[in-house]
Symmetry: C2
Subunit: 379 residues, 2 copies
C-alpha cells in the first residue's frame, strides 16, 4: 500500500455569500486546490455535501461538480453524512490513492445554506436524526445540544462560563483567518448574555448559517515530492465509526462512542500515540460538542474538557473552528483538513502553531451517531 | 490486489409497500443477504439511496441503516447519484474488498417513494439535473426522455412499435420474478394506446413509483469459497464515468458517453471481450433509454438497438428490468446485481439463462450525465 499526500488545498471565504451558487463555490475551491498542487486533471472526484438535495433540490453532485470544472468523463461520487460528509469524502479518496486505484484525486466539500430560510435550515439540520422517532417530536439540533449541555454541567459540576470559553477561543482564532465568517472578538459575558436558543444553550454557543467550499488534492507521497516544492503533508490515519442512532439508547449520553472508536482506529493506523499530536481541529457545532469531543478523542478525561480548553494545553481549532470560521456543514470536514495542511506547511500566518508536525481532524454527525477522524503529518 | 466475490444476496418485493418504511425495507434486504452469505457481521456498510432526503427528510443513511441492523460502531458511507446510487455504492464496496481495506462488506440499495405524491416524486426525479438551467424550465424527466425518443425515431427512421417492444419484453420477464412490481403481460398495442406522458412517450414506456431494497455481501474470493457451497460469483470489472451535464451541450444527444466510457473501462478491467457476455441487466427507466443503452454498451450499432431487442440476440433484463421489476431508484443498481447473481448461480427459476457464465449490469443517471457498469462472472 502506498503512502498518500495532500498536495494541494484551497477554500472559499465562509459566510452568507449571496452572489455565489453551490456551483460557484465548488469551482472556486477546487480551482484553488488544483492551482496549489499544480495539477490540471484528476482521476476521480469525491464530493462531500450534506443538504443540497433539501436546500437547493440539487442532487447528483458528483457529475454536477465534475461538469462545472470541465472534467467531463471523470468518475465522481457524492457522499452524505451531515457534518461528516466532507471527512468521509476525504476518507474514500484517501483509500483510492493509498490502494493504487487512482493517482490524483480531488475532494470537494461544499454547502450553500444562506438562500434558505432559518426554518428550512433547522429542518435540514434534523435530517441526520431519525425522522420517525426523533425529528417528529419537533426537537431541533440546538434542543438536543441543550439537553447534553445541561446534563454535562450537572453531572460534572461545570460552570457554564467554562463551557462558553470554547466560543471565546474560537472567535479569537478566527480573527486571523482571512476566510472566516466571524471577525468579532467575544467575551464569556457576551456569550452568556446572548439570547437562549434552547435552555441552557445560548445563541453564541452555536454555529450559524453559512456558505462555503473547501477542496484538496491527494496523490501518492512519492509523486507529491516530485511535483511540489512545498512541505509534503502525509495522511497518516483515517477512520470513521457509527454509534447507536438515538441519544437515549446509549449507555452514556455524554460519551460519543463513534468518536472514541474512530480515534482509536485512526491512531492505530497512524502508529502514533496521542501525545505526538501538536494541534486539533475538532468538531464544535456547539460549545458542548467541542468540549465532549476533546474528551472522547482522548485529550482530556471525562468531565475535564473545559479545563483543557481554559488552560490551552494544545492548540484547538486554530483557524476558528465551526463557530469562528463558520460551519458550511458538508464542507467543514474538508475545511479542517485544509487548515491542518496550512499549519503543517507553516502557512497558517499569525495563528501558526510552532513546530507543528502532526495534526488531527474530527467531525461528528448529528448528536453523535457517526464520527470521522483523520491524522495528518509532516515529518 | 485480491479477487472479490459476491457471497450473499437478498431483496424485498418491489411495489407500493404501504406497510414498510425505508428502515424496514433496508433491514429486510440486508438480513436476507447476510443469511444467504451465512455472515453475521461486516466490516463496512455502503448505502445507495437517491431521494430519502427529499422524500422522507431522512439523511445520514449510513449510520441510520447500521443502527437499524444492530451493527452499531461499524463504519458506513451513503452515496447518491440518482439512478446509479446503488451501483456506485457497490463500486466503492468492491474497491474496499479488492484492495484489502475490508473483508466483509454489506451493500444496501434502498428507496421509498410511495408515501409521496406524484408531484413530489416528479420533482425529486429532477434533482439529478441542473436546477438553475434545466429543472427551472419545468421540464420533467419524462419530457427529457420524450425529446430523445422523438429524435431517435426521426434520425434512424425507427417505428415506435419497435421501441415499445422493450416494455413488452420487460413485462414478459417480470411475470416469473416473484419480487417484481408488475405481473401483467402487455402487447405493443397496449403500450402505444396508453396515455401520453410527454409526446411521443407513452405511460407504459416509463417506470413508475416504487419502494424496494436490495442488498449483497462482498468478500475476498478465496474466503467465499470457504464459507459457501453455492457457486461463487466473482466481480470481474467495475467502473463509472460522467458526461456533460446538459443534454444540449453534448455532441450527440443520442449517445451517452458516460455509458461508453464506463463500459470500456469495465471491459478493460475484466479482460474479456463483449461477445463473452451471456446476458445484460441494463438501464431502462424508459423504453428509449433501454434501446440507447444497449447501443452505447456496444451490443448493437447506433440506430440498431431495437433490432437487437426484437431479435432477442442475448437476454436483456431477465427479471423484468426497471419497467417490469420496478424502479426504486437508488436500489435499482443493486437489484440488477442481485438478479445477475441469481442467473450466474443458476437460481433464476423460469427465466434462467442457460449456461450463464458472465453478466453485465448498467445504470445511467438522469438524462445520461453519469453511468456505472459492472461485470460479474461465474467461471
Amino acid at each position: 500500500m502506498r503512502r498518500v499526500a495532500v498536495v494541494g488545498v484551497g477554500c472559499t471565504k465562509v459566510g452568507e455569500l449571496w452572489d455565489k451558487s453551490l456551483k460557484d463555490l465548488a469551482v472556486e475551491s477546487a480551482t484553488k486546490a488544483l492551482d496549489d498542487a499544480g495539477v490540471e486533471r484528476v482521476d476521480f472526484v469525491y464530493v462531500g455535501n450534506a443538504y443540497s438535495q433539501i436546500l437547493q433540490s440539487q442532487g447528483n453532485l458528483g457529475s454536477f461538480i465534475v461538469d462545472s470544472l470541465g472534467f467531463n468523463g471523470t468518475p465522481s461520487i457524492s457522499i452524505e453524512a451531515a457534518d461528516s460528509s466532507g471527512s468521509l469524502a476525504f476518507h474514500e479518496a484517501y483509500k483510492a490513492v493509498k490502494l493504487g486505484w487512482a493517482n490524483y484525486v480531488l475532494v470537494v466539500g461544499v454547502e450553500k445554506m444562506s438562500d434558505s430560510t432559518p426554518e428550512e435550515v433547522a429542518k435540514a439540520l434534523m435530517a441526520c436524526e431519525d425522522q420517525d422517532y426523533v425529528a417528529f417530536t419537533g426537537i431541533t439540533q440546538a434542543g438536543l445540544h441543550a439537553l447534553v449541555l445541561r446534563l454535562y454541567m450537572e453531572r460534572f459540576r461545570i460552570k457554564h462560563e467554562d463551557v462558553a470559553m470554547f466560543t471565546v477561543k474560537a472567535h479569537k482564532n478566527a480573527l486571523n483567518n482571512p476566510y472566516a465568517q466571524f471577525k468579532n472578538p467575544l467575551s464569556v459575558e457576551d456569550v452568556l448574555k446572548s439570547p437562549i436558543l434552547a435552555d441552557p444553550l445560548r445563541l453564541l454557543e452555536y454555529t450559524t448559517i453559512a456558505d462555503g467550499s473547501a477542496a484538496l488534492i491527494l496523490c501518492p507521497l512519492e509523486e507529491a515530492k516530485k511535483i511540489t516544492d512545498k512541505p509534503v503533508v502525509e495522511v497518516l490515519g483515517s477512520a470513521s465509526a457509527t454509534d447507536k442512532f438515538y441519544l437515549p439508547e446509549r449507555i452514556d449520553s455524554l460519551t460519543f462512542n463513534a468518536t472514541v472508536e474512530a480515534a482509536k482506529k485512526a491512531f492505530q493506523e497512524a502508529k502514533i500515540s496521542i501525545d505526538k499530536v501538536d494541534f486539533i481541529e475538532t468538531h464544535d457545532n456547539s460549545t458542548i460538542m467541542g468540549v465532549i469531543s476533546i474528551e472522547d478523542l482522548g485529550f482530556a478525561e471525562k468531565g475535564r474538557g473545559t479545563t483543557f480548553i481554559v488552560e490551552e494545553k494544545i492548540p484547538i481549532n486554530t483557524m476558528g473552528g465551526s463557530k469562528g470560521r463558520g460551519h458550511p456543514i458538508g464542507a467543514t470536514g474538508v475545511y479542517q483538513l485544509v487548515e491542518t495542511v496550512w499549519q503543517l506547511r507553516g502557512e497558517a500566518g499569525k495563528n501558526q502553531v510552532k513546530d507543528a508536525k502532526i495534526g488531527l481532524t474530527h467531525t461528528l454527525t448529528g448528536i453523535g451517531n457517526l464520527a470521522a477522524v483523520n491524522i495528518l503529518g509532516c515529518l
